[in-house]
């Protein structure tokens, strides 16, 4: 489904990704772990198409298309979803309205019929049940005045409604207390399916206790330096990033 080969990317003139390669098949959950500054969030942003992230070499193939040639909105329509580390507030824009506009924009590109408000409401009700999101959150402006946990749950809720094929979760666990973490994990697990793949970018392994990955990769200094199964995450937890891979950044935090 997703094939990243020798990816090099710069941000503000500085090379962050230095030859990253990764292959993800349908239905798989991959965890990307690594110290601060290794390039984890850069990977998510490059895949979603954020401005200011310049790809200097390499390729990203997604369902046989050149993902990097698409605008961010086209990637979304093609089924790529990025759950933001810091979800953005849009004052005055109703959360439900935003989500319906997003879903219908994607459906339109895919040549599917747009959902009217009744159909959309029905869909939202179904998804609400799994997400632990109160109705009240839907009527507020997008992320405006949401707590950290509410923002992250809202991202997962959006994912549930948009039904992407490739979901990239950028530090979705950061800043969550244990109850919120469990709820978010439950939401993610409910969305696991043979047709959907996940890239979970995380700093800590605790999320992986709740969302068990098929593969764990360690990203250090812009490259995948080690790959394994869940046990790799536990090893990291024990020994820190310092003992991983042949080239690791100096002063990496555990």
């Amino acid at each position: 489904m997703l094939k990243i080969e020798n990816l090099h990317a710069r941000v503000e003139g500085r090379e962050i990704l230095k030859g990253l390669s990764l292959s993800v098949d349908a239905g798989e959950v991959h965890a990307i772990m690594g110290p601060n500054g290794a390039g984890k969030s850069t990977l998510g942003n490059v895949l979603a198409g954020r401005d200011g992230y310049e790809v200097t070499a390499g390729s990203v193939t997604y369902n046989d298309i050149d993902l990097l040639s698409l605008a961010p909105e086209a990637r979304a329509a093609a089924g790529v979803f990025l759950a933001f580390q810091y979800p953005v507030e849009i004052p005055g824009v109703n959360n439900t309205y935003f989500l319906r506009a997003a879903l219908n924009a994607q459906r339109k590109v895919r040549g599917e019929s747009e959902l009217d408000s009744m159909q959309f409401l029905k869909l939202v009700r179904e998804k609400l049940k799994v997400m632990h999101i109160s109705d009240e959150l839907l009527h507020r402006a997008v992320n405006a005045g949401f707590s950290g946990g509410e923002k992250k749950r809202n991202e997962i809720f959006q994912m549930a409604v948009l039904q992407p094929q490739l979901a990239i979760l950028d530090e979705t666990d950061s800043g969550l207390d244990i109850d919120a973490l469990k709820q978010v994990a439950e939401g993610v697990n409910a969305l696991r399916s043979p047709a959907r793949s996940f890239l979970m970018i995380t700093h800590y392994q605790r999320l992986l206790d709740y969302v068990v990955p098929d593969f764990v990769h360690v990203l250090a200094d812009g490259r995948i330096v080690e790959s394994g199964d869940k046990s790799l995450a536990l090893k990291l937890e024990e020994h820190g990033y310092a003992g991983i891979g042949e080239s690791h950044p100096a002063g990496a935090a555990a």
Binding site: A48, P72, A76, G92, F98, L103
Partner: protein
């Protein structure tokens, strides 16, 4: 309609078509080629007399105009607004232009004129009304206007053009005209008083709730003319009325002058809601042409417990100079001002409000949303005045500016004068930009760039849009979208 003629019509909130037409590009920027009666350019006592005579006005009206004209001659052009204005040659403007033929039925209406209305998307029955045909003389099947007129008459509501009112209801006009905005109030109000060509007159008798939205639609067509309309709305004790106005003008390279006066009078427990969607031609992207919009709008909460509320969406005009105000004379009276002012390219807006608190426990609320794009300049200018007698009066002001791009400007000039120690004045102001983060967030969810901008702008304006009648709000949103085309990316 052509020239400075102004027609009134009644609709049950079915202006949507008009405003939608206004929204497409500058879709209203066409010129209708019909024969027009002009007064020669220039302004003098003689011109004022001729104008008054052309309109068949009584001597008191002519004298009123002359008084205003003489006062105007003594006044300097105001220069305190944050606007760059090329000097206006008042002798180069024609102060009266009207279509030559006065039609009796739709069949006699100049086809070119009807085509204009069609381009604007105005339904047929309304086109007839705008063309100045007595609506009851038109097709039965579409004479919705007739029903409205009948309904209004049954309720005792008077709604007609100002010219008609001067002829038909001289007592009412004499009593109220100039009672809120005196002839010598300011430079442009004095000019308007001297040369106003038409406008609307509304009178809601005691205790009547006007059964429908009233609306006026203004359009400037003829070249080298000014438009000077005058609107007067009187709501007697306990009455309610909601009034909408929409405006357009053709694309022209030269600047055209528009100087209107609107006066509202609310007696005890009366409520007036006045909504404007202004889309005069803003000039091109290089700042050539466009309407100079100098408007004096003022409401007088004359009676206790009365309420006047202004809502405006201003997207047009090269220059906007406009401060819809409320004089809170009656005890416990309420004044409101909700405004969205959008400027793009080289447009300049200096707009805001004045809330003059005279009565006890009077309340006012100001919500101003300024959006600047391109190289435009957008200023909020407001005055909140608590006079000595304004015991326990309150004001809340919220002033938000949204910047799109790096070359535009937003300015806020809030003035406060508080002479009563028990009065409370609150002011909040914010300035923000559409951030790259917001744009990327929307796009990463599948929303296209331009849709994201209009969504964010719409969210920014929400507080004001919810004050508009619903269909108007939908159209106002569309208007903003079109006005912002090319503002991002």
């Amino acid at each position: 309609m052509s020239g400075t003629s102004t027609e009134t019509k009644v609709t049950r909130r079915d202006n949507a078509e008009v405003v939608e037409a206004l929204g497409r590009g500058y879709a209203a920027g066409f010129v209708t080629d019909i024969e027009t009666d002009y007064l020669p350019p220039g302004l003098s006592e003689d011109i004022v007399r001729q104008l008054s005579a052309l309109k068949g006005e009584p001597p008191w009206m002519t004298e009123w105009r002359l008084g205003a004209y003489r006062h105007w001659l003594t006044m300097p052009t105001p220069d305190w607004a944050r606007l760059r204005i090329d000097p206006i040659d008042y002798q180069a403007i024609s102060y009266y232009a009207a279509p030559k033929a006065k039609p009796k039925s739709l069949a006699e209406v100049d086809p070119a004129l009807l085509e204009t209305y069609e381009k604007l998307g105005i339904p047929l029955h309304e086109r007839a009304a705008l063309a100045g045909v007595a609506v009851d003389a038109v097709f039965d099947s579409v004479s919705v206007g007739t029903t409205f007129r009948k309904q209004l008459a049954e309720a005792g509501v008077l709604f007609c053009s100002m010219s008609e009112a001067i002829r038909e209801y001289p007592e009412l006009v004499r009593k109220y005209l100039g009672s809120v905005v005196p002839t010598g109030d300011n430079f442009f109000a004095a000019l308007n008083s001297a040369v106003f060509s038409d406008g609307s007159f509304v009178f809601i008798p005691k205790g009547v709730r006007c059964p429908m939205e009233l609306s006026t639609y203004f359009r400037i067509n003829a070249q080298n003319t000014g438009q000077f309309e005058r609107t007067l709305i009187v709501a007697e004790e306990g009455s309610h009325v909601s009034y909408l106005e929409g405006c357009t003008a053709p694309r022209r390279d030269e600047n055209q002058l528009h100087a209107a006066v609107v006066e509202l009078v609310a007696l005890e427990k009366a409520q007036i809601k006045y909504s404007t969607v202004q889309n005069w031609y803003p000039g091109d992207e290089n700042g050539v042409g466009g309407i100079y919009n100098f408007v004096t709008k003022r409401g007088d909460c004359r009676g206790d417990d009365s309420k006047i509320s202004w809502t405006q969406v201003e997207t047009g005009s090269a220059i906007t100079w406009k401060y819809p105000s409320v004089v809170l004379r009656g005890d416990r009276s309420v004044g409101e001002f909700h405004s969205v002012a959008l400027t793009h390219h080289h447009q300049q807006a200096d707009t805001g409000t004045k809330m003059i608190h005279l009565g006890r426990h009077t309340k006012s609320k100001i919500v101003s949303k300024g959006i600047s794009a391109g190289r435009s300049s957008n200023s909020y200018r407001g005055l909140v005045k608590m006079e000595k007698g304004a015991e326990g009066a309150r004001n809340y002001t919220q002033c938000d500016s949204l910047l799109i791009g790096k070359r535009c400007g937003a300015h806020t000039f809030p003035y406060m004068e508080v002479k009563n120690p028990t009065a409370i004045v609150e002011h909040e102001a914010t300035t923000s930009k559409i951030s790259d983060d917001q744009m990327f967030y929307c796009r990463s969810r599948g929303i296209r760039e331009e849709d994201a901008v209009s969504m964010i702008v719409d969210g920014f304006c929400k507080q004001v849009f919810k004050e508009l009648p619903m269909e108007f709000a939908v159209e106002a949103k569309k208007l903003l979208e079109v006005s912002l085309e090319g503002a991002v990316g």
